[in-house]
Symmetry: C2
Subunit: 253 residues, 2 copies
């Protein structure tokens, strides 16, 4: 048995554009984004009064929270801008300028994001380093916030699952798949606390009449997690990690 | 003689925080910023009606153009925020939120900038990748823009100084120190064109009643550049670079 040291500290997606990078391994996430396109279009056209929102500044502000390094975020933003422009054309409004806030953790590879921005884009791009479980933007500063496949990342591991004296102790496992109900509850409660902070922050940042779209995987109420295909994948990954942990120094920064 | 290949392509400051990085070798730039502190304070107190500027949004927007990787930009921004707060206290105004746009070229090391942001800062921080000789922010989106020790970096080398058939040909040298008047004029004209673009962009980005501070080195009118201490430094550096160029492959990306 080797020395085991696990340091969990704000894990961003894998940076750069090499073979193991997020930017080269995020086709599944792109598929999720594509699936949401129609819903987002509909929300923009039906729920958002873009004409009123831009009446003061003639600028429309969009934020993508948990954008990683691209390129998925660029497709998402392009689609949103096209929908907002369609909505504005329908209301005979002038064409605004667009400002896009690309947010992720401070250790996210913003260098890759910035150098891979589309050259002929129709918006001003800025990067926002910070956890979306806190405030990341000023009060009433954004018209539409979107986050896709990001809010399942908790702000931290629930303490109970690491505590050997707790009923929610997860026996060193890294996921709640096939775990006791107390473990699932510990993760669920952490998600609840995190989402409360998420929503409180967005309530301050989004203008009155703005739009928040949260896209994430779910599970039908009452279905045990172990019945899902995801569960098998996570269990296999957890088994591999646990085995590595028992054999070598595992140092995740 | 080795192969010589020089590729000039948007050169940012040296990234990271190693011994050769900008962040560890920018004491001179910090001194320049300190020298300007009193002037900037005075400008904010006398020329800026901060109370009126924040009356709609209760947020004050600052941009530092050509901020590099820090830490100088953080000291500069802190000083500006303190002055704006003093100005607002004097006019019995409420305390606003601050949003700071940190701008530099897309290849600037924003990762170092973001991970070295002061933890207990009193502002929201965003990074803006792009050349300040173009638009980098939406119309009327910023109250105060500052740029210190950055606008002497031209957008490109003037074509004439590279053209052997031109009177402004600079004979392979990399600076106009001790050069013919035509060479100096070529650089001066390029600076003129660049500053025109700079000012046109800022005129659109800065709100009415906002403030633009440009801090850069100058030279008394009529004094030959060769009389300055800087000239000797640049001439020595140019000699070294030219000698390296004649001996080895010099590849600047």
């Amino acid at each position: 048995m080797g020395k085991v040291e696990i340091v969990l500290n704000s894990l961003p997606m894998s940076g750069g554009d090499g073979p193991n990078s997020y930017s080269k391994n995020s086709h599944l996430q792109r598929r999720t984004t594509s699936l949401l396109k129609e819903t987002i279009d509909k929300l923009i056209l039906e729920k958002l009064n873009a004409k009123t929102l831009i009446s003061d500044s003639n600028t429309f502000h969009i934020a993508d929270l948990g954008c990683a390094t691209g390129p998925n975020t660029f497709f998402l933003v392009d689609d949103i801008i096209k929908s907002v422009e369609t909505s504005l054309r329908k209301s005979n409004s002038s064409k605004p300028e667009f400002l896009v806030f690309f947010n992720d953790l401070p250790h996210n590879d913003f260098n890759t994001l910035f150098t891979s921005l589309p050259q002929h884009r129709s918006y001003f791009a800025v990067g926002v380093p910070g956890s979306f479980y806190d405030r990341v933007l000023p009060q009433s500063s954004v018209h539409m916030v979107v986050t896709v496949g990001a809010t399942h990342w908790l702000s931290s591991v629930p303490k109970e699952v690491l505590d050997k004296t707790s009923k929610a102790w997860n026996k060193g496992k890294v996921h709640y798949s096939n775990a006791a109900e107390e473990v699932v509850k510990a993760y669920r409660d952490q998600f609840g606390r995190d989402m409360e902070k998420f929503l409180e922050a967005r309530a301050k940042e989004i203008v009155s009449g703005g739009l928040l779209v949260v896209g994430m995987c779910g599970i039908p109420k009452g279905m045990p997690f172990s019945n899902l295909a995801d569960s098998i994948m996570y269990k296999s990954m957890a088994d591999v990690l646990t085995q590595m942990q028992s054999q070598v120094v595992l140092h995740i920064l």
